[in-house]
Symmetry: C2
Subunit: 402 residues, 2 copies
């Protein structure tokens, strides 16, 4: 992954500021507040948790995204502002008002995001002080600091940037994300922010974001819990001064492809930093009847606790993989199923091959594993990325709140 | 739980035999073969894994159950006879033929079941020798031995028995089950055998079994993996000489209720012996719009890795419970949700209460936990039972195959 420092500030016209607000505990010096600002109105598109129990900022952000335009993203880590009742909603409005005055822009142009513990009222005095400090310190050198400020149980900051050389000029994409637990394929306690200086109308930006998410953030699994705060936002401010990207053009396709790659990079970075993870596992399913069937099967293997503990145990346990494939809900003939682990075919036409257990055990020691399932139903395919399930995952989550 | 020794031999007319066949490894002395026999033709009903990758004996047993009648159940542990191709199917037929000659009865009256490792050809010589030994040793004192013979990673044998005093005479129910991993709410690597001397036609037995399973084995969760071998069989031989149980009568209802209780006892015994489990957790959801909604919510909490690790950590983490409820797929107003843990209301109308963290931490040390979620959508309710997710679960499953 490309981990240059500019991240969300890589595209033209974007700056950011960060601060240590002491959100979770007063007086700590860890960065936990950030603002990302576009110097001009930007198209905005967002995708959010589908959990019925959603945090106050999620409901608010949905409204901002519906308008299609935004100037800034405001975020804190340490407090999720979820299960906080009417006070939680009021606190989001107040946050937008305060930051709007500081930038300055209208409050309704500000997306507000939170991640952290659930059910604790937001410490508004510390939050607003922290955000005002962010607003005073805006620069285009704060991309990696933003990636740090949004971390909770993450161990490494994730930021990416990319250039797309379109026929009519170069545009840039920047991004950052956080989330190491509560990660399931339908978005989780994840925050991801993407910026671009391409010129894209809000509806088209939504299409691009949605296409990219279906091949990236919705294809990863750490555990299977969907959080109350998942938020993915993209701002496109057109500062590259390239022509508007329009659907049906080659430039649009080229941008879409690169944007998806950036999202895959970020999504895989989340999996690599999964709580307690010791392995990064890529699961490919091909030959399913449809892509949707392949997704069902790949996703079921990616989520299977028994497959994930086998990966942790460096065990090429194809029985668990075949078994998980079988309950994924997609029809296939198990007598025509092949399973390849680390390049070695272990199951051919539904029966085990005479592979060398010694050789595969050696290959399973790698920190990156590849599992390929091939069926004979059609041309449907999908790729999922998952982590292993380790004793450390359990320890981290048995202790998290205390 | 009632753990008398007769188990499946408690009802009249049933005997059993067990043997150490050395199925997994030649020469070992662990019981791993068993036969349960009715002295007369019995009605049979079965429920099986819905996994598309299913073991050879599962396909075979479906056929026996379709006929409605059976005389015996033959079972081995140590080898699942799954992913074994055409040879696996041939081995099942040969097993039924050999045991049929020994009992004697017709081969097509014999249910064959297997549990254990996947993808290894059945050692037929050792299996048939073991089963012939079982057939020579039939007695009504072998109920608990059967429970032992079917164990794999289970640490305690599970057998139950019950009497139902119907107006026209007493009938008995016996049962045994195994399964400590690959346990998900749609049946898993579970085997369960129930016997009764009540007189019940096959179609009615199927109804009773199906009703009972929906409130017992389909309401438990250890991990979320559905195995290739799940089989639940019930034989009813009428040896009590009581009149046939007919739907719509009080006696039928009384039998159904008791039969369901027996299944709940067995299902909960599986959860209590879940791999690595240190807690047994009962999750009740009430006030959902429909029972089906309550099941969705209770099941999602029961499966949530984060809830299960919190139980392990003795953490009354209602945030994770509320969060899991929210992504269960059933609609409800989160602002009208109450959560009660160990009798203490921690969330009222969607907001945390001022409960004593100290007091609840003390209560969380119990080995049996109760979680109650109350909504205001209607009168739908459900109960699920789950275990916690411990570091030992991961260790057991990272090492299982080797």
């Amino acid at each position: 992954m490309n981990t240059l420092k500019k991240g969300v500030c890589a595209p033209q016209g974007f700056t950011a500021g960060t601060a240590a607000g002491g959100i979770k505990k007063a007086g700590t010096t860890r960065l936990d507040c950030a603002i990302i600002v576009s110097d001009r109105p930007a198209s905005v598109a967002g995708m959010f948790t589908t959990n019925r129990v959603f945090a106050a900022p999620v409901g608010y952000c949905r409204g901002v995204c519906a308008s299609g335009h935004a100037r800034a993203i405001v975020v804190n880590s340490g407090n999720a502002n979820a299960c906080t009742g009417d006070q939680g909603d009021a606190d989001v409005l107040e946050t937008a008002r305060v930051v709007g005055e500081a930038i300055p822009c209208e409050a309704k142009e500000i997306c507000v995001c939170s991640t952290g513990v659930i059910g604790v009222p937001m410490p508004m005095e510390r939050l607003t002080a922290g955000l005002l400090q962010c607003a005073r310190a805006l620069s285009d050198e704060q991309g990696e600091a933003v990636a740090r400020a949004i971390m909770t149980t993450d161990t490494v900051p994730k930021c990416v940037e990319a250039e797309v050389k379109l026929p009519e000029g170069t545009v840039r994409i920047g991004g950052t994300a956080k989330g190491a637990g509560m990660i399931a394929p339908n978005l989780a306690t994840m925050l991801a922010f993407l910026t671009t200086d391409a010129h894209i109308a809000p509806a088209n930006l939504k299409t691009i974001l949605s296409n990219a998410v279906n091949r990236s953030f919705n294809c990863i699994c750490i555990d299977n819990d969907m959080s109350t705060n998942d938020t993915l936002l993209c701002l496109a401010n057109g500062a590259s001064n390239t022509p508007e990207l329009l659907p049906g053009t080659a430039a649009f396709e080229q941008f879409q492809e690169r944007f998806t790659e950036v999202c895959i990079d970020l999504a895989c970075a989340l999996v690599r930093d999964g709580e307690g993870a010791t392995k990064f596992v890529e699961i490919t399913v091909q030959g399913a009847k449809h892509d949707a069937d392949a997704r069902l099967i790949a996703g079921t293997i990616a989520r299977s606790q028994l497959c994930k503990t086998a990966f942790y145990g460096q065990d090429a346990n194809w029985g668990r993989i075949a078994c998980a494939a079988g309950y994924g809900g997609a029809p296939f003939d198990p007598h025509k199923m092949d399973v390849v682990i680390q390049g070695i075919c272990v199951l051919r036409q539904g029966c085990p091959t005479a592979y060398s257990e010694e050789k595969i055990q050696e290959l399973m020691k790698a920190s990156e594993l590849k599992v390929e399932v091939t069926l004979e139903e059609g041309s449907g395919q999908a790729v999922f990325w998952t982590s292993d399930l380790s004793t450390d995952y359990v320890k981290i989550n048995a202790d998290y709140r205390t």
